[in-house]
Symmetry: C2
Subunit: 354 residues, 2 copies
């Protein structure tokens, strides 16, 4: 197979971690005989600096023509004062919207090797954590109309959803739940929001096609509590864009393994954009300090979801586990008794383990 | 002083717990020489059953004429299928909006006597937790325009804020921070939402009048993470209505003391509505099993904020601490080695300790 991958290193530690993921992908190619063509593109703060806009049209075009995108991270305090429409984050929204990536998968997994970093008591997470948050990514209040009044004294944002938008993400979530434990929790605020009532009704409708999946509904405030109180009750969570933003970050933090967590943004075909869930950490950029594992695991998700190379995906995931098992750690996940390594050496270790 | 208090027991365990709070208030009156007149009103599911609407106009009128409202809890599965506009929750929104209660105070405190119930590791909460969430309560997406398209295929909700709305809640939060550690965290999603940018700008403006308060801004997704990772970094958190709903519930759950937590909903004058943050727990209603302490502590907040009886408020809070210290527990907070009591006995114990 010949793979056509667009790399968007982005800002801060983005270039450091994407470089290591490429190292690991190359090792997989060597072993599997597949070939890959990389095209590196600008997006985020660095694109603002070089081209004046966060998402140059050429980047979106290149992404559209490719099989998959691997993204590092965008943003940083340097661009925090630019006006709303010109922020680095706009690049993410532009890519998500422009590429039609409505389905965001965010696995929240507790790595047993890192359980010391988990902020929850042992008895709360005993048996491990493995939650899949399925976040709607191209609708809701992120993409609705918004505005500021002429006098600057009032502002509004609109949360909007159509049945079709809810249906397609719900179906993805039901499929995923079916392939796991068969339990799906849909999160909304149906006691207040009209969009949530539409959401709940539509999810209920879809449920009839998945009698083998056990569906429950939770209000978002309750979900935020339950994630802390008893996270093991969750298997797959499906929710709208902003609730998904909040809950997936909370879910990843309760694992304590946040430097390790990848994500995939998908649509109906095999195309996808893959990125770590952590930020651009500008303070440690270029210092060989960043943890590349979340990006490496994002590349594994790419092999699985876009290229259907399940075996190769597992190869990368196993390599990461073995490197952790052997005690290698970057600074962010370091604990007593382990061996500290830099970004590059971590990448090399995983590539070798592949 | 003669106090005019409206009681809204509501649904589920509401009547059980309000009754005990009254018992404690009466004990305070006995000791302090103040007098109180109670008026009991309907709201929530029981009001739907008796009058056809969740918030009868007579209830709102009585509340408007009173000095303060003490509310138990509203809602339950029995009314989950009624249409959006007729839900028990509408009573809460009607009271908040109708009484102009824009400022919701939700203390999240870890009771040392209950630290076993805290889901976070000891080292994460060492030294205790005492966070005050200040939630805007009469604006945002809870009160914005919403609707369903004629064909039922799409829905929208509007999040709207004016500078004036942000200013008044920000000022309250700055005042509260000034009276505590002097640290205030404002939570928004200014990288996406126009209302959040207005929010941030307005809070920044207010900050100039409070040079002694140290203001920081956090995105809501990051705040949801930080509450789990390092909750002790927070003292006072101020945020808009829906973010406040989610984060205050998360904050209360990380304390593990959720059966204990009161809340106050205030406006510029001394009027206030006071209620426990927990729900109506219909499964244990009327069984002498509910924990009345959150409602009793809500009554203490009433003494403090509405009647400016700081000493009497402390009297109640100290009584609760002493009863816990002595090992008395309702079922929800029971642990090995303590003595289990019912709702009524718990109320009596606190009243006696007063
Ligand atoms: C950077 C920001 C716009 C983005 C979001 O809110 O979606 C991020 O928090 C994420 O979750 O990917
Ligand atoms: C019952 C519900 C409408 C309410 C809210 O969301 O405000 C509750 O969750 C709360 O926080 O008081």
């Amino acid at each position: 197979m010949k793979m056509d991958i667009v790399l968007i290193p982005g800002d801060g530690i983005g270039p450091d971690i994407v470089r290591e993921a490429v190292k690991v992908l190359d090792a997989v190619m060597d072993k599997s005989g597949h070939t890959v063509k990389y095209t590196t593109c600008l997006a985020g703060g660095c694109a603002i600096d070089e081209t004046g806009v966060p998402l140059p049209p050429s980047t979106l075009e290149a992404a559209q023509k490719s099989d998959a995108v691997l993204l590092g991270a965008v943003g940083g305090p340097k661009w925090d004062t630019v006006p709303g429409d010109m922020r680095p984050e706009k690049a993410l929204l532009g890519l998500r919207g422009g590429l039609g990536l409505f389905c965001n998968l965010r696995p929240a997994i507790l790595y047993p090797q890192l359980s010391a970093a988990c902020p929850l008591k042992e008895e709360v997470v005993a048996g491990g954590l493995d939650i899949m948050v399925v976040r709607e990514l191209t609708g809701g209040i992120y993409f609705g109309e918004r505005g500021l009044s002429a006098d600057g004294q009032s502002a509004y944002d609109t949360m909007a959803y159509s049945t079709a938008e809810v249906e397609r993400i719900a179906r993805k979530a039901f499929e995923i739940a079916r392939g796991r434990s068969g339990r799906l929790t849909s999160v909304d605020k149906a006691n207040i929001l009209e969009t949530s009532r539409l959401w709940r009704k539509t999810v209920e409708c879809c449920a009839t096609a998945y009698p083998d999946v056990q569906l429950t509904h939770l209000y978002v405030d309750n979900a935020a509590m339950q994630l802390v109180r008893a996270p093991r009750q969750f298997d797959v969570i499906v929710t709208e864009n902003m609730f998904g933003d909040i809950l997936s970050d909370e879910a990843s933090m309760i694992t304590g393994s946040i430097g390790m967590l990848p994500s995939a943004s998908l649509r109906e075909d095999s195309f996808g954009m893959y990125e770590p869930i952590h930020g651009s950490a500008p303070d440690i950029a270029g210092k060989d300090l960043a943890n590349p594992l979340a990006t490496i695991l994002s590349a594994a998700m790419m092999l699985r979801h876009t290229f259907k190379l399940e075996e190769e995906a597992k190869m990368v995931e196993t390599a990461v586990s073995r490197v952790l098992e052997a005690g290698w750690r970057t600074g962010d996940i370091f604990s007593e008794g382990c061996s500290k390594v830099g970004t590059r050496q971590m990448g090399t270790l995983v590539a070798e383990a592949v």
